[in-house]
Assembly symmetry: C2
């Protein structure tokens, strides 16, 4: 009953995480009827993001195409001997917003989850080991969610470095259980940073 092009747009939008049929219809209708270029902006931004955004080979945070390494690593004000370990690149932004951290980051690209087929090998863990050695890292601060996957990943990393002379800490359990790090407010995140404990 709907034109083919519209069905295709609804189907394409449905691929987005958490978007059901009715939501996809609402977005598609908005895009169709909006005449101030909102749809075109999205289309162009999608193409641009694929071209202009890269992943830092050191930290795996987002960087601009022209950058070689993230400024969160390169900046002389950054303490390379301290690394906050997070699951995804947006968690970096959340922690940066607290303005209370001056070390660097390492984005794992996910959390260990055998059910979803995500093993340590599919995460950025080999590169973490390399950084720890190269930069003579003194502390790893694990900032994963307080979820089963977050805990599993934290324990895996802590065991992995147990033989080495470095502190492995975890954000304080001031984080409410079940809350995604990206949703946490800045004060909660600051407190969690302050109260980190050896594991």
């Amino acid at each position: 009953m709907l034109p083919k092009a519209l069905l295709e747009l609804i189907s394409a939008i449905s691929a987005l995480p958490g978007v059901g049929a009715r939501t996809a219809e609402r977005y598609a209708y908005f895009i169709y009827q909006n005449d101030t270029g909102a749809g075109e902006k999205i289309a162009e931004a999608i193409k641009s993001v694929k071209i202009n955004v890269k992943i830092c080979p050191k930290t795996f945070a987002f960087i601009d195409r022209e950058e070689k390494v993230s400024r969160l690593y390169d900046d002389p004000g950054r303490d390379k001997k301290t690394i906050v370990i997070v699951a995804d690149p947006f968690d970096v932004i959340a922690i940066e917003k607290t303005s209370s951290y001056k070390g660097t980051y390492h984005v794992l690209g996910g959390l260990i989850s055998p059910i979803d087929g995500i093993t340590p090998d599919s995460l950025n863990i080999a590169s973490l080991k390399k950084r720890v050695k190269e930069d003579n890292v003194k502390e790893l601060i694990i900032a994963t969610n307080a979820s089963v996957e977050g805990e599993t990943t934290a324990h895996y990393i802590s065991r992995l470095f147990s033989a080495e002379k470095l502190k492995v800490t975890r954000l304080a359990q001031g984080l409410p259980i079940g809350l995604d790090i990206g949703y946490a407010d800045q004060i909660t995140l600051s407190k969690a940073l302050e109260g980190r404990r050896t594991i």
Copy 2:
């Protein structure tokens, strides 16, 4: 802290109805990291929808670019003397899915809402008057939401045609099938009481 192209994508996506900053980030990250072409599909579908989807000049429902008038109007099996009046084109699909209606449709393109500056003049109402005359319409079935705007629009249309020899009806309001009475809101229950029928 985020690359410019990513910020632009997040900002473009935030224009979608009901999408806040965190949801836009989630969509943008998904689009960025998906490597099976989900993002490209959305971008192409947006461009295609702008080219290939039109609005039927009679019913204001969606039609393909090659179509002149909606099949929901043109089809000889459709009774042109009965019109269901809806706010947006997706409401047409919802009613078609019932398979229990064989008349035609008229999409208003919104609901009267003085607060949002939506007056009867900005809706497809003049064209409805024309259709009523041309097709010798016998019944208008108003299928707008049970909201303030939906009620206002229903009353406006019913008054508009009060002098003419045609029936103006409104979808029955009452308890949705399967809803426990204990969970029904007061307005729904009031409407269900008002509209009670002899059994």
